[in-house]
């Protein structure tokens, strides 16, 4: 699993990345009550807004960690947005993205680097 400074995680399988938000991000957001996900087929650009996650208090943007096309969105989050809090780095995944260039992932942090980054916040 790889991580961004915006607190997204990425799990790579071939040229498809599963993307979600980290346990740290989910804890900071608080209770998730709604998740706005992109439609499959939509083109994503690294660093651009990808989804919106809503807590009771506020709406927060989630950024695409990598560039590619959305192949699937996690419908479970539509029915049970709380899954983001319960299992942020598992069943609470947001989208799958078919990467334009699988090597993009090399620029992201590994878990040790992400945890070092978190310690600076």
């Amino acid at each position: 699993m790889r991580f961004t400074k915006d607190h997204e995680w990425v799990e790579i399988d071939g040229d498809v990345a599963t993307v979600g938000i980290t346990a740290y991000a989910a804890e900071q957001l608080g209770d998730v009550v709604f998740v706005d996900l992109p439609e499959p087929g939509k083109a994503m650009t690294a660093g651009e807004p990808m989804a919106v996650v809503e807590s009771v208090k506020a709406a927060s943007d989630v950024y695409a960690p990598l560039t590619g096309d959305v192949t699937a969105a996690n419908g479970e989050l539509t029915d049970n947005p709380q899954t983001v809090n319960d299992q942020p780095e598992g069943a609470g995944w947001f989208v799958k993205i078919k990467l334009s260039d699988p090597h993009q992932v090399d620029a992201l942090m590994d878990r040790a680097a992400y945890e070092t980054f978190l310690a600076t916040l």
């Binding site: 209770d31 009550v33 709604f34 809503e54 807590s55 009771v56 709406a59």
Partner: protein, 386 residues
């Protein structure tokens, strides 16, 4: 507020000990939530009792400098000083009664909404207990002090603690150590003693639930806070859930659902305009309010049940034909309903419950139906069972 140090309440250490997440609000460092989180804090308040630090607000006492000693005459005198600023019947307050009223400008817009109360005690006639909003308190107090002139003295009490206990179990919790709370009806108040110091106990709140707001001096604030939370039915609740609770209760938030351009009639607060005062037209903006009551209204605050993503403040409201007809002024997720709700302003012709409108959220059109306010019924206790 950039560059200015945040003020703290007398309960800052208590919030830190509870693991609160703090946020700047109206110049104060305030708890937005505790470890339980907004959703659980909200639902706990509706089921049991939430305890809120609202010491950032503006409690104060206005007292005649030279009372005559005639209780009714003295009340009339102090009421006459403040009535020119507000649209409520202050003169007509019964001893112990609290009134929700509005500070208005010459155009009939609102400077603030506030509580004004008449003490019950004969010895305190010629005095008023006043609570204004945090963000507006400097201007409010200046206006009240100016209106009082040399006839009355305004004594701020916002160096103390104001603690709200709200929910169906609130009164049982508080009556355990302040028995007088159980004898108060909704919108009345009294003075009692806690830990050797005077406290002002007002049966009112901002959640739609029964409960009290207790004003205590800073010296006993932490003791009072801990005494309330020693009861297992009480849990601390931050400003996050305070906002979702008042939204469900359909209560306007000054600076969002009301401001200096919004009249009481537009805001759905006609109940706060005194009939006597309206007839006399003796408060700021009376002409506009009379005209609006006679039918000259162009916008009115409504409640909306929203489908899809929560519609937040600033989201546009559209009619069935797609024309933008208004804007959301408060909106979010209602934990008690497990659904998004919003309040906003629309033309009166589109304000009837059952009217189908839409809200625009991130460029998407989402259905929104006008519904009566409050979204969640109020549970105030207006008559004490004897």
């Amino acid at each position: 507020m950039t560059g200015e140090a945040l003020k703290t309440t007398p309960l800052a250490a208590a919030h830190a000990a509870l693991g609160a997440r703090m946020t700047p609000f109206a110049g104060y460092d305030m708890p937005v939530q505790y470890p339980a989180g907004i959703l659980k804090e909200h639902l706990w308040t509706r089921a049991h009792a939430g305890v809120f630090d609202v010491s950032h607000m503006g409690p104060a006492f206005l007292d005649l400098v030279a009372p005559s000693g005639d209780p009714d005459a003295d009340h009339r005198s102090v009421a006459a000083l403040i009535e020119p600023l507000v649209c409520g019947d202050i003169r007509g307050l019964k001893p112990g009664q609290i009134r929700y009223t509005l500070l208005l400008n010459a155009e009939g817009g609102m400077h603030d909404d506030l509580m004004i109360a008449r003490p019950a005690e004969v010895s305190r006639q010629g005095g008023l207990y006043i609570v204004v909003n945090a963000g507006t308190k400097e201007a409010d107090f200046a206006a009240i002090a100016a209106a009082a002139g040399n006839a009355a003295r305004l004594t701020r009490a916002d160096d103390g603690a104001l603690i709200a206990v709200q929910g169906p179990e609130a009164i049982a919790i508080v009556a355990d150590f302040l028995p007088a709370a159980a004898d108060l009806e909704f919108m009345t108040f009294t003075t009692a003693t806690f830990a050797g110091a005077p406290v002002t106990v007002a049966r009112c709140g901002y959640t739609g639930e029964d409960g009290v707001e207790i004003l205590a001096p800073a010296s006993t604030a932490a003791t009072l806070w801990d005494r309330i939370l020693a009861d297992s039915r009480a849990q601390p609740v931050g400003l996050g859930a305070r906002d979702s609770l008042r939204l469900e209760a359909g209560l306007p938030l000054y600076g969002h659902d009301a401001d200096k351009t919004v009249s009481p009639i537009e805001a759905g607060l006609a109940f706060a305009v005194s009939k006597r005062r309206l007839k006399a037209a003796d408060f700021p903006g009376a002409a506009r309010i009379a005209a609006e009551l006679a039918g000259g209204l162009t916008r009115v605050r409504v409640g909306l049940r929203v489908q899809g993503a929560p519609a937040r403040e600033g989201a546009e409201i559209a009619a069935a034909d797609g024309a933008v007809v208004g804007v959301v002024t408060s909106g979010g997720f209602a934990p008690s309903l497990s659904a998004p709700v919003a309040m906003g302003f629309v033309p009166p012709a589109l304000a009837a419950p059952g009217t189908f409108l839409s809200v625009l959220v991130r460029g998407r059109v989402q259905p929104a139906e006008v519904v009566p306010l409050p979204f969640v019924p109020h549970r105030y206790v207006r008559k004490i069972k004897s």
